[in-house]
C-alpha cells in the first residue's frame, strides 16, 4: 500500500490535500533503489499552476526515459501547509515516492516569472537545504534553475549551484552522466563536480564567477574565477523539433489544474520581433513541429489521458505553416469524439473566425486582439505589425459573424509613450464599439457590444531591444491608467467599454528582478526571511516587506527602475550568448526611437544572430 509522507491528521486539516498525495494517472513509479540519480523537478508555485506547465512534463518524460534516473515532482505547499511544516519541522517531500527532497541528488526549479523568487527560498527552506550555494555540503542536492527567468540569472545567482541556460532537452544527459560517474568514483566533491559541470554547454555555475562594480553602481567587469571556466555561456537550442522528446502520456492531475487539457506544442519561437517581447527573442529561431508528428501526438495524448479538450501551445499560432491542415484534422477527427478544441493566440481573420465559429459558442465567447499599444506611432515603436485596419477589419468580420464581445490587450509605460498614445487606447475601443452599431442592424443585435480593454504595465526584459529602457514609479503608472480611464468615460460609446488595469506595485518589483544584478539577491533573502512569499498571489504580496528589504540591504530600487541605460553599459546578463546579439538589439533599440518597423523572419532575415543555431526559420 502506498504510504504518504504527511499524516492523515495534517492532510485532513489543510485545503485541497490532493495536492500532496501524488498517484496521478500517468505519473511514473520506479523503485528509487534501482536508479543512480534521483531528480526532483519543481515548479515553485501551487500545484494547480505548476501542473499546467508543459515544460516540466517534457523534462519529466525525457528524464524518466533513462533507466538510471528517477525524476519526481514537487510544488509549493500552500501557506496553510507551509505553516504546519515549519512548526513541526517536517521536511518537504516529492509527490511520487513521498521521500524527503533533501535526500535527492538534484533539485531542478523552473523559473517562469520573477514573482516566484521568494518561493524558491520556500522550497529550499522547507526541504531543509541551505538557502545559499556557498553553504551547501557534499550531501546536499545540487540545486539547478531553468526557464525564461535565467536569462538574467544574477538576482538569484546566490541561491543556485547551476543555472541552465536554454532548452532543457539538450544538456541534462551530459550533466547526469557526469554526476553519476563522480558519485561512483567514491570521492564525490561538490566543488570539483560543479567545476566540471561548468564545462557542459549551457550550464552556468554562478559561484565560479565574480563581479566588480563602477562607482555609479553599474558593472565594471564580470569574470570567471578560474582559467578553465568559460567566459560565456551558450543558450541551448533544440534543432529538430520532430526528434525531440514529447510527453504523449502526460500526467493527469486529480485536482483541476489551470490547464486541464491536452496540449500540442506546435512550434517554438516566434517569427515576429515585437520589441518588448522577451519570448520573441529568447526562443528564436522559430522552429515548427511537422503536422504529421502532431497528428500522432494528438491521438496518443487524448487516448492516454482521456482529456476532453485539446489546445495548441505556441507564441503565435497563426504563423504556423500548416495551421489549416492541423485545425481541420482537429475538427474532423477529434471533435467527433466529443473533444473540445481551444485555440489561443490566433490572429482574427476570416480563417480563424470560421474555425472559432465551429468550435465555440459565439454568444458566450469573445474575440481577442493584442494591439499592445493604442496609436499607430506607438505600435511602430514596439514593432507590432498590427494596423488599425487589421483590427477594425477583423472586428467587423467578427460582428457580422455574430460575436459581440471583444477583448483588447495593451501595455502602458512603453518607451516614449505620450499622453496622446495613452488616450489612443480608449479611442480605439470606442471606434470598435461604433463599428458594431454601424455594422449590425438593431434587430440583429444581441444586446450591447462589450469592448473590454486591459492594460498591463510594461516591464523591460533582458535580451530585448527595450533592455535599455527606463521604467516609472508606481504613481506614474497609476496616473497613466487614470488617463486611459478618464478618456474612456468621455467616449460616445463609453457604456459599451470596460477597462481593467494591473497592480503597479508588482510591476515595479518585477522590473527590479528582471534587470537586477547580484546585489538584489540579498533583498530576496531578506524578504523571505521576514515572511514574504507567494508574491504572485495578490493576497500574500505585501509591498512593505519589499520596501523594508531593499532599505535593509542598501539597495536603491530607482537605480534599476528609473534609469535609461547607456548604450554601452555592461548588463548583468551579457555573459550569456543568447543567439540574438547585442549588436542586433542595439540596432532595434535605435530603430524603435525612430519609429522604424522591422520585418518578420518570414519576410526577411534581419541577421539577429540566431542563424548560428542553424535550424528552423533561419534555414529558409
Amino acid at each position: 500500500m502506498r504510504k504518504l509522507f504527511l499524516s492523515d491528521e495534517i492532510l485532513m486539516s489543510v485545503e485541497k490535500s490532493a495536492r500532496y498525495i501524488g498517484n496521478e494517472v500517468n505519473s511514473i513509479k520506479k523503485n528509487p533503489e534501482d536508479v543512480d540519480l534521483r531528480f526532483c523537478m519543481c515548479f515553485p508555485d501551487v500545484y494547480e499552476i505548476g501542473m499546467s506547465h508543459l515544460g516540466i512534463q517534457i523534462l519529466y518524460e525525457m528524464m524518466n526515459r533513462r533507466e538510471d534516473v528517477y525524476c519526481e515532482r514537487v510544488y509549493s505547499p500552500w501557506p496553510d501547509l507551509h505553516k504546519i511544516m515549519k512548526e513541526q519541522d517536517i521536511p518537504l517531500f516529492s509527490l511520487e515516492s513521498q521521500d524527503p527532497i533533501k535526500n535527492f541528488d538534484m533539485l531542478g526549479i523552473t523559473l517562469q516569472y520573477e514573482m516566484c523568487y521568494t518561493n524558491i527560498l520556500q522550497i529550499l527552506d522547507l526541504s531543509q537545504i541551505p538557502l545559499l550555494t556557498k553553504d551547501r555540503r557534499d550531501e546536499d542536492p545540487i540545486i539547478i534553475g531553468g526557464g525564461p527567468c535565467v536569462y538574467n540569472p544574477e538576482p538569484i545567482a546566490i541561491f543556485f549551484d547551476i543555472l541552465y541556460i536554454g532548452e532543457g532537452e539538450i544538456s541534462y544527459n551530459a550533466l547526469f552522466d557526469l554526476y553519476i560517474s563522480e558519485r561512483k568514483s567514491g570521492n564525490f566533491n561538490r566543488e570539483s563536480f560543479l567545476r566540471k559541470a561548468a564545462q557542459i554547454p549551457g550550464l552556468y555555475v554562478p559561484s565560479l564567477y565574480d563581479v566588480t562594480y563602477k562607482e555609479d553602481g553599474t558593472i565594471d567587469e564580470f569574470f570567471p574565477l578560474y582559467e578553465d571556466v568559460p567566459k560565456t555561456v551558450l543558450r541551448q537550442v533544440v534543432t529538430d523539433m520532430d526528434a525531440s522528446p514529447y510527453p504523449t502520456k502526460p500526467i493527469v492531475p486529480f485536482v483541476q489544474a489551470t490547464q486541464d487539457r491536452a496540449v500540442l506544442e506546435i512550434q517554438r519561437g516566434c517569427i515576429r520581433g515585437c520589441r518588448f517581447c522577451q519570448a520573441g527573442m529568447i526562443y528564436r529561431p522559430n522552429r515548427e513541429r511537422s503536422f504529421e508528428v502532431l497528428e500522432g501526438y494528438a491521438k496518443e495524448i487524448l487516448s492516454s489521458t482521456g482529456h476532453d479538450e485539446i489546445s495548441l501551445s505556441s507564441l503565435s499560432s497563426s504563423d504556423y505553416t500548416q495551421l489549416p491542415e492541423l485545425v481541420n484534422f482537429l475538427i474532423d477527427d477529434c471533435c467527433k469524439d466529443g473533444v473540445n478544441i481551444s485555440l489561443p493566440s490566433l490572429r482574427i481573420d476570416a480563417f480563424s473566425l470560421d474555425v472559432m465559429s465551429k468550435v465555440q459558442d459565439i454568444k458566450k465567447s469573445s474575440v481577442t486582439f493584442a494591439p499592445e499599444a493604442g496609436s499607430q506611432r506607438m505600435r511602430n515603436v514596439i514593432n507590432k505589425g498590427l494596423t488599425v485596419e487589421d483590427i477594425l477589419g477583423g472586428a467587423q468580420k467578427a460582428f457580422m459573424g455574430g460575436w459581440n464581445k471583444v477583448k483588447l490587450y495593451f501595455m502602458l509605460g512603453l518607451p516614449s509613450e505620450t499622453e496622446e498614445d495613452m488616450k489612443a487606447i480608449p479611442i480605439l475601443g470606442n471606434e470598435i464599439a461604433a463599428l458594431y452599431y454601424d455594422t449590425v442592424p438593431k434587430e440583429q443585435r444581441n444586446g450591447k457590444c462589450q469592448i473590454t480593454m486591459s492594460t498591463s504595465f510594461f516591464v523591460p526584459k533582458p535580451f530585448t531591444p527595450f533592455q535599455w529602457a527606463r521604467m516609472y514609479g508606481k504613481d506614474e503608472y497609476l496616473h497613466r491608467a487614470k488617463v486611459v480611464n478618464d478618456t474612456m468615460k468621455e467616449q460616445l460609446n463609453h457604456k459599451s467599454l470596460r477597462y481593467q488595469w494591473h497592480h503597479a506595485d508588482v510591476t515595479v518589483l518585477e522590473g527590479i528582478f528582471a534587470r537586477g544584478d547580484r546585489k538584489v539577491g540579498d533583498a530576496i533573502l531578506y524578504a523571505y526571511e521576514h515572511g514574504q512569499f507567494f508574491d504572485a498571489w495578490g493576497e500574500f504580496f505585501d509591498v512593505k516587506n519589499w520596501d523594508d528589504a531593499f532599505a535593509a540591504c542598501g539597495i536603491d530600487p530607482d537605480f534599476y527602475i528609473m534609469r535609461e541605460r547607456d548604450i554601452d553599459e555592461v548588463f548583468p546578463w551579457d555573459f550569456i550568448e543568447c543567439g540574438v546579439t547585442k549588436e542586433f538589439l542595439k540596432r532595434e533599440w535605435l530603430r524603435s526611437k525612430e519609429g522604424l518597423v522591422t520585418k518578420n523572419c518570414k519576410m526577411q532575415c534581419n541577421g539577429c544572430g540566431c542563424g548560428t543555431f542553424d535550424c528552423g526559420i533561419c534555414l529558409r
Binding site: 502506498r2 492523515d8 496521478e24 486529480f254 485536482v255 482521456g306 466529443g338 468550435v359 459558442d361
Partner: protein, 251 residues
Amino acid sequence: MKIRLRFSKYNTMKYIGHLDMLRYFQKAFRRAKVPMKYSEGFNPHPVMSFAAPLGVGVTSEGEYMDIEVTQDVDLEKLVFDLNQQMVEGVDVLSAMVLDDHTKKAMAAVTCAKYVIYLKKNSNLLKNVDIAASVKSFYEDQSEILVVKKTKKGEKEVDLKPFIFDFRGSTFEDRTFYQDLKVDIKNDEFCCEATDPVFVLQVSTGSNDNIKPELVFSALYRYLGIEEEPVIAIHRVELYQKEAPDFISLGA
C-alpha cells in the same frame, strides 16, 4: 443502455474530493473507450451521476454511479477495461444493466452503512465497554436530539428515526469487518484487538442526509466526553429501500 457501476475508493484516494472524482471517471471512461452518451451543446459532457457524494477522508466500497452508453457493452469487459485505467485506490467492483424506468441512483438512495473506527489522535473510548455504551445510547434513549446546522441556521432534530442500526465492539470481533472488500486496517488508525469498531446504518440521500460524524458527536456527548470525535469512516454499502427490507443499490 443504462448501466450502474459499483466502485471502491480507499487508501490515498480518500483525499480526492467528489468533483475531482467525477472528472477522474470522465477521463477514465474516455481512456477505456467506453461508448458514453454525451450531452448536447458546445461543451458536451458524458451522461453520468454518482449516487451519494462521499466526504473527503472517507473510504468506501459502496460507491455507485449511473452511466449511459450509446451501444450495448459486455459488462464483464466493461469492468475489466475500466480497471485497466484505475489508479491504486479505486477499483470498479461490478456493473449491472438498468431498465429504463429504474430510478437514478441519486434519487433512489435512502440509506448508507458504515464501518467506523478511531483515528490515532483520538485515543478516547479506551476504557469504555463499547458494545454496552452504544446499545444504551441507541436503544435506551427514546429520542436522540442533536443540533443540526442548516442553510437557515441551527435546528434541533431527533436522529433516532434516521438511525437504522448502530452497534459497537472491538477489533477482536471480526464479524464487524471481515467481509469487507477493502482492508481498513491501517497503522494511522486504532486497529488493535482492543480498539473499538462500530457499524452504523443511517438515512442518506437528498432528504434526511445524516453524516456519521453527527451521530458520533451525539454518542460522545451521551458518554460525557467533551472532545469532538476523530473517527475513520468506511462506507460499506448504499441502499435503495427503507427499513425493514433494505435492498442494495446494486441489487
